[in-house]
Amino acid sequence: MGLYRSHVLVCGGTGCVSSGSQAVLDALKKGLADKGLDKEILVVATGCHGMCEMGPIVVVYPEGTFYCRVTAADVPELVEEHLFKGRIVDRLIYKGEGTVADVPHYTDIPFYKKQHRIALRNCGYINPENIDEYIARDGYVALVKAVTEMTPDDVIETVKESGLRGRGGGGFPTGLKWSFCARSAGDKKYVICNADEGDPGAFMDRSLLEGDPHAIVEGMLLGAYAMGASEGYVYCRAEYPLAIRRLKRTIEQATEYGFLGDNILGTDFSFHLHIKEGAGAFVCGEETALMASIEGQRGMPRPRPPFPANKGLWGKPTNINNVETWANVASIIRNGGAWYAALGTEKSKGTKVFALTGKVNHTGLVEVPMGTTIREIVFEIGGGILNGKKFKAVQIGGPSGGCLTEEHLDIPISYESLSQVGAIMGSGGLVVMDEDNCMVDVAKFFLEFTQAESCGKCPPCREGTKKMLDILGRIVAGKGTPEDLDSLQYLGTMIKETSLCGLGQTAPNPVLTTLRYFRDEYEAHINEKRCPAGACVELARYVIDAKKCIGCTKCAKVCPVGAISGTVKQPHVIDQDKCIKCGACAEACPVKAIDRR
């Protein structure tokens, strides 16, 4: 094949596809062909770049120019100007906050500059459906190296040395976990990739599977080799059709190259990989429930011990890691444990991928070294709070994580530091909240999720979270009592103490952490029947500012319950007892004299 002077990468991640990247891709191919540039310029569909709210994203190499929100209509200009004449199309390039003097290279953009991509290293950079591109990025080098030059123990030792810990949330040392499974006796062993990404707003697993599926497969192969497993499953939510399609393609290609199947690389190491589509129940992310689901039973956790390493899938020794964990393995084996361990904090090594969402300027996927502060993520990478509002809290670790405050902004993120303040790493959800968020309401939102997703097997999680939810419901409705706070505290503690699986043991976290850091908000709801953030409808109060009011009577006219009185040209007043908080008056007021408190 000829040499291409330039590559145009079009994001093919779910996010960008949904915002029309396919049309852009087609338009580009056509445009280049028309201009006769298709011999010298290659168009590539890649996985997610992370910065999804900016999609569809197009990156032009070698310059690495980062175009965002590109539409098919922009393509002719892009071709004519940049690709043909080499003139950057200013209006399409990414502008961070404010203006940018000269065109930034992809990696100079603040969103990316602070990042350190290991798991995500190929996402948005290669065509995930082309195994050769993965190999061009040193793909499968680790596998060949391991199988031909290393003993299984060497592999485990390297992973131990790297300090890699479970990225699914538990944070259990991966190498140690592997050594358990490797040591446990069994004629047959399994490795499983947990791709049952259930946290609302989380999509790192999906992006990894879509953007660099071979890395996952290579990681699992290395694990299988290290632990002596001959069969593996990727348990992926059926809601991820693109990821599943790419995985299937990946398995085909890897099998064709002899990385999967019998006698891999001509050795007696054999490994067969299957895809199991999950129904997407949240609890199936819990490893024992996940295995039950693969076995065809209802996804429900079972107590451990016995641990999967001894009695796992179909009673055989089994090792489960999540997508991100597997995605790190190949790089670790290729570059050595020390290389990975050089990143991060003392106990939490390497990098972690976060899904940054909520009230920040740039939402998206972020991979940073452990030890990075929340401030760096929210304010430097995320570009700060939307519309210059005031930062209030971040919910870290998904629905069963904790809510952290201003005062935690500068703690370096690590498994230890987070659990110290009552949160968890979780799978890496990072939801930013501003002054408009009511923390009681936020806690209620997350608890509603966990309660609805509780499998119902154990009473603490099934009954306890429901009872906590009842109490929170009372509080946001202004019917709470001071005793309710003690009940919440006690229930939360007991649920953590007695629940069967991780889902239940962490479910109370949002409530417990908000109780800890935002108790005043709870008390405002209870004692003053007031929602400081003005978010809780039942507690909202509409008040007419006598100074602003011009007495036009518009408000009185629209009020459905006649709660507003006043004479023409005179300030009006709202009878709070009658008011039903519909907000019609505020909309009707021509001078914005009515505000909600």
Partner: protein, 123 residues
């Protein structure tokens, strides 16, 4: 497709695929061709094709070929810049396709500037 057995097998694939991804990192050496209307009028595209052909012929993977707009020395078009990482930018003027092999073999490969074509250096 024969099954992979060794690192060698991998390397072969990597080699044959390098340009796939090589073009995605600004190479150690950059060749920048002025592609303004003036440049194109003066035959910049023919020059660029010659560059691409030469690189392909020599199997040079670590050279990125970029285009840029008019840089304001229209009288000397076609313009071709060579930048070795860490060295000043050398600009060649009135470059003809037949000059390309020389520039590439002398300058790009062996680091010897082809002085008779140089019209400027900038840091």
């Amino acid at each position: 497709m024969p099954k992979i057995r060794t690192l060698e097998d991998l390397k072969k694939i990597k080699e044959s695929t390098m340009d796939l991804t090589g073009a995605r990192s600004q190479g150690k050496t950059r060749i920048i061709i002025g592609m303004g209307t003036c440049g194109i009028a003066a035959g910049a595209r023919v020059v660029m094709e010659a560059v691409m052909a030469e690189l392909a012929k020599r199997g040079l993977k670590d050279v990125s070929v970029e285009t840029t707009g008019c840089i304001g020395m229209c009288q000397d078009e076609p313009l071709l810049d060579v930048i070795h990482a860490g060295e000043p930018r050398v600009t060649y003027g009135k470059v003809a396709p037949e000059d390309v092999p020389r520039i590439i073999s002398e300058h790009v490969v062996n680091g010897r500037v082809v002085n008779d074509k140089v019209i400027g250096r900038t840091d």
